[in-house]
Symmetry: C2
């Protein structure tokens, strides 16, 4: 395996070898889960995957919560024939930054996971059956917080008998969960690595998240969230996912990839309304493709969870929760990020550092904006490895 | 009047004195207007306003085309009781940068103007009656280009007997029209001042414009553009205008103005779906208010016109039209602009300058992003005045 890792390191720009062995989705259930808002969810079943082996002391476990439209498939393949491995496979595996010869990685599905219709996602949310009625919860499902997501992970931690995470690391919404872990349970982790995320949702993020969500409510099929016996609002959901895709990318990507090309040769958008530009066509297709495995209400619940986010959920202000963080922090981000701009990440770092907590910042380079935190995370490999392996 | 101007200059941060005398909307009609796309519009009637007096030589006229959601009300008031003067009143008037003691300013309504239902707008577009059918054109109205907008202004120029503009100056979509004038009719103007705009719509702008427009098509009332005898798609139009408002502002504005405040005291967005954040509530209200005077199809036509924009509309590439510009250029913009980012404006300047055309760049400071080109234009007053008054 070392030999493979060496080769992988030498050809870092090329495709890395996927995490081995094949990965299996597992699940866990929490009963009578109480939310931050005081509601009770009788049964909360969520999926997870693990990579590597939990040691006897159970002190080598690293938790990976996922991003907004992601799931627990962070590394490896389910079958050799899979087109691609999990989203962070470049940093998870034997000899990689998160070395599975050494660490036991636990990647979890969130509640209200977007991919409610994806067979590889196990989640509980508005599309799930409410045991009290025998019908899908719809918008009667309790509004959740990022803190609730963390508490479900705490439930899994307890079931696995893990006393303390060696680290918690996640991208974007997974970064919010990482901050939340460190602010809410400072004694239950050794270090934290929020990636492409800041320590609270500011007004600008709240507003953009609302722009993401708005198309769903415009779709007549949404019907106040009650659509499980009829047509799903997939046109609205597709438009919502189109906005997410564009916002999570960058002008370098749109301009470099599509330019002013038309979607089809000879089909000038100036000549007919049915014609369009290549960039618009690609975004429409990406949105529609992602919508088919997703649930519109789940999208709305994720948006509301993110909008509410202030690390540690203090009663007032944004500082108290961040000041609660006292484990070493590594922030990985890019200044080309439109969703979590560099200024917001630096301001977060400033608050955490202000009482002496060590904060290391890693800047990624790339042309994909926010998405570079997923696609180009391997750039951080050396510093990430050193941060994880530090005594 | 000089005394007033002096006082206005001394209290530049406060409200300026509005252009005097009271302003009247006028209109002009072009018959059998032929579009860039080869269609014929039997009757094109558009509004305009003038400030100052056309001199005998007719060589003191300055043309002001407007921005996406704007109209020809660039300065002054219609009645003393008006709450606010036209959008660029701080630079248009006696003793101001565009000195109406010296210049004759012509501000025009565009075809397919967004404010089709605004009594102060006179325009022709899909909401207008098609003489051939006696019914509104709807989506049968010909797709227009920014070049078509310019040709309508050329028609007014001819009717007024103006042989050459002393200058053409406009913000945002008005900036596109300014570039287009200089690239398309280099002999018909003395200088050009595109504000918060670049010389072509790149893929990123094309994609964001599509995000602006998409909510309209999601609204079931849109009905393929055929809604003039039923309910207008005002929910979709309001969402579209919400996206425009957010995109044209900046994080400094959202964060500084609203923070994480709730829309209503005691109404925690974490507790109920009916509750929301102040920033979202304000954007929703702004969108809805603007929708009531606007037309959804006109919005779509404006988007398509902007998406098609390449200065001078050359057959291939983006350079040829910009290289056609050989009058002095002043570009006014801000680096905080999300719609026309600084890089795009600088690239435009680089192309125009490459063959020796003089280009002066003025950077605005502010907290409103793209909108600073409207709200904070007075910062450019001294340099604008010098540029306009140069022999």
């Amino acid at each position: 395996m070392k030999h493979f890792a060496l080769i992988a390191a030498l050809i870092a720009a090329g495709p890395a070898f996927a995490y081995e062995p094949l990965v299996e989705k597992q699940s866990f259930t929490l009963t009578d889960f109480t939310t931050d808002g005081g509601a009770t969810i009788p049964e909360m079943t969520l999926g997870y995957e693990t990579y590597g082996t939990l040691n006897e002391a159970k002190d080598n476990a690293i938790l990976i919560p996922h991003y907004f439209s992601g799931n627990s498939h962070a590394a490896g393949k389910y079958a050799e024939s899979d087109a691609a491995p999990g989203y962070w496979d470049t940093i998870i595996g034997s000899g990689k930054a998160i070395d599975t010869d050494k660490y036991f990685v636990v990647a979890v599905d969130s509640p209200v996971n977007l991919g409610a219709n994806d067979p590889n996602v196990i989640t509980t949310g508005p599309a799930s059956v409410n045991p009290a009625t025998g019908k899908p919860w719809g918008m009667d499902f309790p509004i959740l917080t990022i803190g609730d997501f963390v508490e479900t992970q705490k439930g899994l931690m307890d079931q696995l008998g893990i006393p303390k995470w060696h680290a918690v690391m996640g991208a974007s919404m997974g970064g919010l969960q990482s901050y939340e872990w460190a602010a809410r349970h400072p004694d239950l982790l050794e270090r934290v690595i929020p990636v492409i995320a800041s320590g609270w949702a500011d007004a600008d993020l709240i507003a953009w998240l609302d722009v993401w969500a708005s198309p769903i409510k415009l779709d007549a099929n949404w019907n106040g969230g009650d659509y499980y016996e009829g047509e799903a609002p997939n046109a609205g959901l597709a438009d919502a996912l189109k906005v997410v895709t564009l916002h999570a990318n960058s002008a370098e990507w749109t301009n470099g990839t599509f330019g002013r090309n038309w979607a089809a040769e000879g089909a000038d958008p100036g000549k007919a309304w049915a014609n369009d530009y290549a960039v618009v066509d690609a975004l429409n297709k990406a949105g529609a493709a992602r919508a088919s495995l997703s649930d519109a209400n789940h999208f709305l619940y994720l948006v509301r969870a993110c909008q509410q986010f202030v690390a540690g959920h203090p009663e007032d202000g944004i500082y108290k929760g961040l000041l609660n963080i006292d484990v070493p922090v590594m922030l990985i981000h890019t200044d080309e990020d439109l969703v979590f701009p560099g200024d917001a990440v630096r301001e977060t770092a400033g608050i955490i550092k202000s009482d002496g907590t060590p904060v290391e910042i890693v800047e990624l380079q790339g042309t994909r904006g926010h998405l570079d935190g997923v696609l180009n995370i391997a750039q951080a490999s050396d510093r990430l490895k050193a941060f994880l392996d530090a005594e």
